[in-house]
């Protein structure tokens, strides 16, 4: 059954990819694509639920299914095997569930696009790879899924490849991910060398065994985290995610909010056996996570593109997840993955609905006053915004509060400093999200007349999904994910003396959310005057933040230009032209030169020829002395 879960989306890819695109001659219409493209993921979701039931019936003993033996090299078998336990169940439900509803949303959103069939083919392919990633038993299968989702991300970011900027964004995403994959591969090599297997459950067990393993847990942990940081857009490999907003909005929702970017979090949580014994690596993860969260939140405050704000918000929330992983609260991080999937997907899809309503406008400076015109979008967006800001009893409040609490009190690296930075981040999150809400929906309209004329509510296929996701954002917090995962991923122990801070910190979390709301209302409630005045007072800071701390320019200078120089000077001019071409041309020149030289024997003079006969006779006689 696990194999069926994985293969159903692949079937959808093959069918849609061949029949519904120019490849197969556009044989089928949109209805076929819709039925296949949305139906198969829904069936996969049902199968995941069935697997969960089966898991429960078996007292939560992990389900293992070996699909295919790929190779046997020496004593190491390399199999494609699927593994279903509590963690897998949570992730698979999110992937197939949220994935399916986003597929349904895409039916309405991409209705008028001529690449309709291709889009659904790619989406299904993405689901296939993501399920491979989540259900894989060995790191190798996970890596195949890892690379595959990277490929699909590239294909979907550059979906409208007619515009060169989109293609470049896709390329940037892929290349940045490959940098992280180098670390991932090195980690895999070390693990295989130490344990002879890449099966994750076996590796975790080996690290927990009595004898110390031969490889340093921190080293492996850092290498695997390098791959995770690229996939989940942490500093310094976060640069691809804002550019990835060039893709269609359902892609941003599915891949760059709900599922693919959380693959890094899943990896670290899955390999918790390693990280429990790697305090140095865990400390690094926590620091990078909280730094990324803070950095991204500061940038999001000044962004003017509705999708860019949400992109930086995603980076920031991922940072918080890594903070939770860094202090040992793996189950809490996964909990945040779940709630984040709900409200971030809702936010992105709502943004897509706004863009759809405005006929393509994405700049918030040219929006406003939409609340009454597109009410369903407005209310779902509001619920999701409140969730991300951490207003109780919505979903975001529960997961974020748990992260902050463990950051403060965990015995595995929790400290007040981490808590403080995370709290400031939470404040900024609430602020910029409500800012976005105000600028987009409330206040006076700043739209151009023709856009304003065009504003209409989205069809039911889109608003229905928004309502479902808003509902989940509201009540999702009550799904007790950490407790469900506790049997597999135990929560870390807490400092005894800090227990008394639990309630005060809870109050502080709520207060942060409300303060953020108030600040946004104050600055943006009554028109742009107050925010403009604030910008005038700090022009340098504003420029620094709006240009994302000039990191892209830094990478261009420090990495891009030297690479181009080396490629041009060393590889092209020296290696290719001088050495390779020179060798070939030199060989030809030797032939030509020796031909010319030998040609000079033919002088046309008979005297010379007969003299050569004499030389030949003498030569052969001399040779015969030696050898005959």
């Amino acid at each position: 059954m696990l194999t069926a879960i994985v293969l159903l989306p692949l079937l959808g890819f093959v069918l849609n990819g061949v029949l519904a695109t120019r490849l197969g001659g556009n044989l089928v219409g949109k209805r076929f694509v819709t039925v296949v493209g949305c139906g198969l993921p829904l069936i996969a979701f049902a199968l995941v639920v069935a697997s969960l039931v089966e898991l429960r019936a078996g007292a939560y003993a992990p389900l293992v299914e070996v699909a295919y033996r790929w190779a046997q090299i020496g004593t190491s078998p390399f199999e494609v095997a699927f593994y279903f336990d509590r963690l897998t169940a949570v992730m698979a439900l999110v992937v197939t569930g949220v994935g399916s509803v986003i597929h349904v949303y895409s039916v309405g959103y991409m209705k008028d696009d001529e690449g309709f069939g291709r889009f659904f083919a790619y989406l299904n392919l993405f689901l296939f790879f993501m399920l491979l990633l989540v259900l894989g038993r060995s790191l190798l299968v996970l890596f195949v899924g890892w690379e595959g989702v990277g490929l699909c991300s590239y294909l979907l970011i550059g979906f409208w490849f007619g515009d060169l900027a989109n293609a470049r964004a896709g390329k940037k995403a892929f290349v940045t991910n490959r940098v992280g994959d180098a670390g991932f591969l090195l980690g895999m090599f070390l693990l295989h060398q130490a344990f002879g297997t890449l099966d994750m459950d076996r590796i975790n067990a080996a690290f927990g065994a009595a004898t110390l393993p031969a490889v340093s847990a921190s080293l492996v942990g850092l290498l695997l985290f390098a791959g995770a940081s690229a996939k989940s857009a942490q500093i310094p490999l976060h640069v691809w995610l804002p550019d990835a907003m060039a893709g269609p909005t359902p892609v941003s929702a599915l891949i760059h909010a709900a599922t693919m970017v959380t693959a890094g979090v899943y990896l670290v949580a899955r390999m918790s056996g390693i990280y429990l014994h790697a305090p140095e690596a865990s400390a690094v993860i926590a620091v990078i996570g909280v730094a990324t969260a803070f950095f991204a939140a500061t940038v999001a405050v000044v962004q003017t593109d509705i999708k860019k704000v949400l992109a930086y918000s995603t980076i920031s929330q991922l940072g918080l997840m890594f903070l939770a992983l860094g202090v040992g609260a793996y189950a809490v991080a996964i909990f945040h993955v779940v709630t984040h999937a709900f409200f971030k997907a809702c936010l992105f899809l709502g943004a897509g609905s706004v863009i759809h309503a405005l006929g393509g406008e994405q700049d918030v400076r040219r929006m406003g006053g939409l609340a009454r015109r597109i009410p369903v979008t407005f209310w779902t967006f509001t619920i999701a915004t409140a969730a991300i800001a951490g207003i109780p009893p919505l979903a975001g409040f529960f997961s974020k509060d748990e992260i902050l609490w463990f950051a403060f009190a965990s015995t595995r690296g929790g400290s007040p400093v981490l808590w403080a930075v995370a709290a400031v981040t939470a404040l900024l999150t609430a602020f910029y999200m409500f800012r976005l809400l105000w600028l987009t929906f409330l206040g006076a309209s700043r739209m151009t007349p023709e856009v304003e004329h065009h504003v209409h509510e989205s069809p039911l296929s889109m608003t229905g999904v928004l309502m479902l996701l808003a509902l989940l954002s509201a009540v999702g917090g009550f799904i007790a994910v950490p407790q469900f995962l506790e049997a597999q991923l135990p929560l870390p122990a807490l400092h005894e003396e800090l227990h008394r801070f639990e309630t005060p910190l809870l109050v502080v979390s709520v207060a942060i959310a409300l303060v953020g709301l108030a600040a946004a209302a104050f600055l943006y409630g009554s028109g742009p005057a107050r925010s403009d005045a604030l910008r005038q007072r700090f022009p340098g800071l504003h420029r620094w933040l709006a240009s994302k701390y000039f990191i892209d320019e830094l990478y261009e200078r420090a990495v891009g230009r030297p690479l181009v120089w080396v490629s041009d000077r060393v590889f092209l001019r020296f290696g290719d032209r001088a050495v390779l071409d020179g060798t070939l041309n030199g060989a030809a020149a030797i032939g030509r030169g020796s031909g010319w030289l030998l040609g000079r024997v033919q002088t046309g003079s008979l005297h010379v020829y007969v003299w050569l006969v004499l030389v030949g006779i003498v030569g052969s006689l001399l040779w015969s002395w030696r050898h005959v």
Binding site: S605, W611, I617, V618, L622
Partner: protein, 179 residues
């Protein structure tokens, strides 16, 4: 060896003829006018004929003089007379005089060293066996009849070729005369 020479007239004559042949052959390289070169070659050939006679192969000596001197060299002399009247005396030596000289010495040395060392000692004293023409003809036409036939084929081919050359010559002449 001088005593044995004086005692044996045969050997003396052989020596004289050999020296003469070598001398006139060397003269060939040195003389300026082609006619004189032809005369030197005729001298060499006749002396070689004498050597063959001293060795006892009389019919080969006879054929040497008959064919070589009587046909080949006469033809040569005719042609020289034909061509030399019109031509002025040209340069004697080519560009390769010095390399040729060095080559000569080297070649001579190498061949002599190659050939003299393994020469078997004479089992049969040369000059003692007389090759009668009868014995030769029987052997030639009997055992080596194939070679005999091949020579006749070769001669026929030569005649045909000569005719062809004359034809070509005639055609070229007429074309030139017509301009």
């Amino acid at each position: 060896m001088i005593e044995s020479l004086l005692q044996n007239v045969d050997t003396l004559l052989l020596l004289l003829c050999a020296a003469g042949a070598l001398g006139s052959a060397a003269l060939m390289l040195v003389l300026q006018q082609p006619m004189r070169v032809a005369m030197a070659l005729i001298t060499t050939m006749v002396l070689l004929g004498a050597i063959y006679g001293l060795l006892g192969v009389h019919f080969v000596a006879a054929f040497q003089v008959l064919i070589y001197v009587g046909a080949v060299m006469v033809f040569m002399v005719y042609v020289i007379m034909l061509l030399e009247v019109r031509e002025s005396i040209g340069a004697r030596y080519s560009r390769l005089l010095v390399p040729g000289g060095i080559g000569f010495l080297v070649l001579l040395g190498v061949i002599l060293i190659s050939v003299w060392r393994p020469l078997p000692s004479a089992t049969v004293e040369i000059g003692t066996t007389a090759y009668g023409i009868a014995a030769f003809s029987v052997s030639f036409l009997g055992e080596y009849w194939l070679l005999f036939e091949l020579t006749s084929v070769l001669l026929v081919a030569a005649v045909v070729a000569a005719l062809a050359v004359i034809r070509v010559g005639r055609v070229a002449d007429e074309r030139r005369r017509r301009g």
